[in-house]
Symmetry: C2
């Protein structure tokens, strides 16, 4: 039944039925979690060979360097080559970090605040105002970095094929205080969409009023396909260099969702000019990242072919869970007219739009029934979803039977909240 | 022969003899390095059991948390307890970091710049000027952090029992722009001295004009005794809390010179107020440090007793090398009157003062003969030793036979440079 066309009597009757079903589930004392984009224990198990002595006892790099000791700030040559093969970016432009690409992103932005970037008239903390474009729905931790550093966030919609480029181009051309933007270009968090070639080309080419505008390109899900044929993403690093805007791109990725979220290998890549400035600070900031973890990773996953084979195994667990989510959404909400969702071909999230002004109510109903969702508003700057309609679903972590149960609760909550709103 | 009392003829004759000896060594095409405070391969070998499957396959923390996954920003409870046992600081005041305590120090200071610390009227980057007291000779990487962040450095001598406290007290009482100071309180880098109880008490109690003055207490060598009975260091964290100045202390340490320099576990400790502010930023900066490395370390070194037993093994390698250094210095320079040095009971360095205005010449002579020393001036702010006399010797890394050879070159260079200066 399409709720929007239903009579009041029909809605009332339906509400009673659904409420009874919801109450029965709520009475079970569930404790389920759809909020965290964490790999499941089964996924992590696939990387356990990396902790065997075949991998852990190595400590000499290919050029004979002892990885146990100090040094090699920019990362082992073979690890930079590994990332180069995966990303297509020259190894000389790659720095290998610690276990957290978020940390590299925060540090890159705080470096910009304290020192400026290549081409900055002054450190960004000395500017009257610094603004960033934030695509919505988007990744809460990107927004949190801006908020923490006092950077004003401007929301621009993320469409089904990338940023609303007309809006982005108009904004960055007009306002020199807009110094950057956040992007998750492949299997975007949370909507799962991948930027079109045209969007990437326009990002590389657009005119910016700020001479030191930067795109923080968080390619977290670059090899995280669920379907056999993954989405293709154009190489922004190459595109930007092609048109003389190479300094525009700060590229980030990690193995957090390839091997271990808490103990992976992060990387960043940038133009020669950007890198030389970054390294001049990095060499003061740290004595070098953990090279033993680098060599251990390489022993387990020596190249792109090994990563792709490994990711096929990961995909099985994710596909099973994404199917549960998408099947339940279709079955329970498909003809209601009160929900829209994405069907990503990779990544970790499904973005669900419910009837405007009911997302918080959905969250509360789920909570009452023992199902934790990502906080409503998390996918928007300052934690405020202006339409109160977007929910981020993270199906990777729960066991499949728990996930199925949680999804039943969720779709009941979506329908109940919609009916309450329509009946009010 | 005491060179200062020798006749010109004596000095000329001696110069000829020593020069011939030096030339013969220089002709050998040596390539030796006394510049880096790195553990030797033998030392690193003592930690290899940590890379066996007994240690590497563990991933569940004591409370059942999966260390492979995201989370536990402040560090595993058992790792905080480990550091608490080692330092005497309550576990609740400890944050476990990545592999680099230098990184924690830089981040702590850059946080102060961007956000201020507990009690700051404003972020330090908004102050007209920020100054730090730097004890000399001291650790070049501390100075580099200040220089990078635009913090003005004020040199104060480090005496044989700690900072020149009369000078320190006078400076911090008079100048509110002095916001902090760097200390390596035990086996100080490079002189190897340990602060007296009185020095620690005065640091805890001194009046500071700045309401947000901070001591960066880099306790890098807390368990790094070479002799059976190590130096005792008073607990500044406790002392400062005792007199109501608990917020004054930022405490740092690491296992870099316990297990692996490149893949150890760093920590920091601070008062409740400081920690709450630091965590509010850390939670934005990173998703958490590498807990797999934490649990691996705990499997290898579960407690203080294990650390102490392990450090006894490390001490053997260091004692052998320190003896070569000190014996050679005594034999070759003992009665010359042109050199003074420290005889540390732990740590990684020996500080050598040569005849004023000859250190750079010593460096050059060593270099010509294939022996690399730490750059002259590195132990002073801005890389300038005003008297051009201090050399930092780092004996830990070379093989013993190489070290003996390098020390022969060094003492020849010291004598030649002194004679050149006295004959000029």
């Amino acid at each position: 039944m399409n709720y929007l066309n239903a009579t009041k009597a029909e809605k009332n009757a339906l509400y009673g039925t659904l409420r009874a079903e919801y109450d029965a589930l709520a009475a079970q004392g569930l404790s389920l979690d759809l909020s965290r984009g964490k790999p499941s224990g089964e996924q992590l198990g696939e990387s356990m060979p990396m902790l065997g002595e075949n991998c852990t006892l190595r400590y000499l790099s290919e050029n004979g360097f002892d990885c146990r000791n100090y040094g090699v700030l920019e990362g082992l040559p073979e690890m930079r080559a590994f990332w180069s093969e995966l990303t297509g970016i020259p190894a000389k432009n790659i720095v290998v970090g610690g276990n957290s690409s978020l940390n590299l992103m925060y540090d890159t932005l705080s470096r910009a605040m304290l020192y400026g970037v290549a081409g900055s008239p002054r450190p960004w903390c000395r500017e009257e105002k610094v603004k960033f474009i934030c695509l919505t729905p988007g990744y809460d931790r990107h927004f949190a970095i801006c908020e923490s550093l006092g950077i004003e966030m401007i929301s621009v919609p993320l469409l089904s094929d990338g940023p609303d480029m007309d809006k982005v181009e108009a904004l960055v051309a007009a306002d020199a205080s807009i110094k950057g933007m956040w992007c998750v270009p492949k299997y975007s968090n949370p909507s799962g969409i991948t930027y079109s070639d045209e969007a990437v080309r326009r990002l590389a080419r657009m005119k910016t009023a700020a001479p030191d505008f930067r795109i923080f390109w968080d390619n977290a899900y670059m090899v995280h396909d669920i379907e056999n044929e993954g989405d293709a993403l154009l190489d922004l690093f190459a595109e930007a260099h092609l048109v003389g805007n190479g300094d525009r791109v700060f590229f980030f990725s990690s193995t957090s969702k390839i091997t271990f979220p808490g103990a992976g290998i992060a990387m960043m890549a940038m133009s020669d000019a950007n890198l030389s400035l970054a390294l001049s600070v990095l060499t003061v900031q740290t004595i070098g990242y953990d090279k033993m973890n680098q060599i251990r990773h390489l022993a387990f996953l020596p190249d792109k072919a090994a990563v792709e084979a490994h990711m096929k195994k990961q995909a099985r667990y994710l596909k099973e869970r994404f199917s549960i989510v998408l099947d339940t959404l279709k079955r329970d909400l498909g003809d209601t007219g009160v929900a829209k969702w994405t069907a990503p071909r990779g990544g970790y999230f499904v973005s669900l739009d419910v009837l405007p002004h009911t997302a918080k109510r959905v969250y509360a109903l789920c909570k009452e029934a023992g199902v934790t969702l990502t906080k409503v508003g998390a996918t928007f700057p300052y934690g405020v979803d202006p339409e109160d309609k977007n929910l981020r679903l993270a199906p990777s972590y729960p066991k499949t039977e728990d996930l199925a149960l949680a999804m039943r609760v969720l779709t009941l909550a979506v329908r109940l909240a919609a009916l309450e709103s329509l009946l009010a």
